[in-house]
Symmetry: C2
Subunit: 302 residues, 2 copies
């Protein structure tokens, strides 16, 4: 079986973690990293042995591009890559837009004969699968997802959003449990010289990433004491006859990257079956995310 050739697009926490995850997969090969032209010249010791380009076309034939860029740049990038007939995987994370973006992007995918596995991180992504499975086990019932626990966890999407605001030098956005199925956020911000924390706070609080949960914005000299890569979630479903819980905790970019890299496998299995389109994580069979060539191999542990 030919190896799946991968491009990592973006070199933040998730891009780096994807490189590590690809290294664990004997069925994949990393062809290179795509970065902004302005970042190309920054020497990065991790990239000594990896081809770094500013245009994915310079990498030659790519099976799947892993979009490790800010969530809000994902839809546009999928469109650009569809035009180039490049399949993609991303961990787009704004839940409320997923169904409509999926429908919009799906039409071009079918025309251009590409596959995208969309919104395929841990949440949305594998957590979404757990929520769907829990409904299968107990059709009636109520599901809650609680992020971050008492100590809080790093929300990558939210952190990236705050960092993009004018006047912000560095930031970390933490998500903390605020009772079952509810959360609150704490955003620690290092300011650039002359920046106005009230203006930044206003911008944060009005953003769709933040406006539905209680959010505290705190200016700090250094985000270091608050910085963490740890995150966690607890999903619970209570039905009439059944109670289910799922918890996941660990280093956030690692699990996002693991899910994205496994999704590259499901992506290529769809391409081989000519099932072109844009699919959320739960729209492809779980077995397609697992390594192994034969069903027997992939049913190990079933």
């Amino acid at each position: 079986m030919q190896k799946i050739s991968i491009a990592i697009v973006g070199w933040g926490n998730v891009g780096r973690a994807c490189r590590r995850a690809i290294g664990e997969c004997s069925d994949m090969v990393l062809k290179g990293v795509v970065r902004r032209p302005s970042s190309l010249s920054f020497g990065d010791p991790e990239l000594q042995t990896t081809k770094v380009v500013s245009d994915i076309k310079a990498l030659g034939q790519i099976d799947v591009a892993l979009l490790c860029i800010p969530s809000r740049e994902v839809p546009q990038r999928i469109k650009e890559y569809q035009a180039l007939k490049i399949n993609t995987v991303d961990s787009y994370d704004e839940h409320q837009n997923i169904a409509s973006l999926r429908r919009e992007l799906d039409m071009t995918a079918k025309v251009k004969k590409t596959v995208s596995v969309f919104a395929a991180g841990w949440d949305p992504g594998t957590d979404s699968s757990v929520r769907a499975l829990m409904k299968v086990v107990s059709l009636t019932g109520r599901t809650t997802t609680t992020f971050g626990g008492e100590q809080g966890g790093r929300s990558m999407g939210h952190t990236v959003q705050v960092k993009s605001i004018d006047g912000v030098k560095d930031a970390v956005a933490l998500t903390l449990a605020n009772g079952r199925g509810k959360q609150k956020r704490k955003v620690y911000v290092e300011l650039k010289a002359g920046a106005d924390i009230r203006k930044i706070e206003k911008e944060i609080l009005s953003d769709s990433y933040f406006k539905s949960e209680p959010t505290e914005v705190i200016a700090v000299e250094s985000i270091e004491p608050y910085n963490t890569l740890h995150h966690s979630a607890e999903i619970e479903r209570t039905g009439m006859e059944v109670k289910q819980t799922y918890t996941v905790e660990g280093t956030n970019p690692e699990f996002t990257a693991n899910v994205m890299v496994a999704s590259a496998r499901a992506c290529m299995r769809a391409v081989r079956k000519e099932e072109y389109g844009v699919y959320t994580f739960i729209e492809r069979p779980i077995i397609d995310y697992l390594p192994g060539n034969s069903p027997e191999e992939r049913l190990e542990g079933y």
Copy 2:
């Protein structure tokens, strides 16, 4: 959208629970129950308003037959129904035979243009999906499944097997946790007059359902004090950077039935796409198990 017409085959704990589960699904209709000819005449108040037959052909057009019969009768019954072009769902539970039976039965399904969702209960079934998802989140690591906890749970497959032994009047087989990822079994047996408990014990201990775990066989006057429908499982995966746990507990026939009924939906979605074959639970997209006509509806809560 036309409703999925269902036959329940077998009228034990799971068959009864399937009827209740179908009642919750507005996209399904129960056409009747198939029982052994010897059982047809037994009046059952639950079956007053349901057609009961000994041959599925007497029910007319059926989309999916839910095979609520002893696991070991499932492969043969799938073959019979494939010949009649009837799609099936079952909760076959002998893990070690699943991959080979799937391959064997799949060939006829493709010829006869039927779909079977195979080994689609809670374990194997939804638990298998959880184990597969946990691997996606953390490719390296170790997964353990522990059944029954300290108080023990009713294993339906094992109970049915013991009840089929000559000289057994009634029985219940409990599974108890025996350290992480390990279990032991306690089998309570009511004997028929003149039956030899040592002979029955020997038969139980040599059966593939029991031979890999420590099993205690206990003759009792009445199984009533030990009888329960409760069961539970805890799945854990510990990887380098991620720890995940999933627990499910409740009334065993209820969750088996819920999964089987949801699988009828995935079965018919495969039929409509003409993707004939025999599929384990993880080989169909999770979204196909959920009710709702549009992707938008089924992506609710994604």
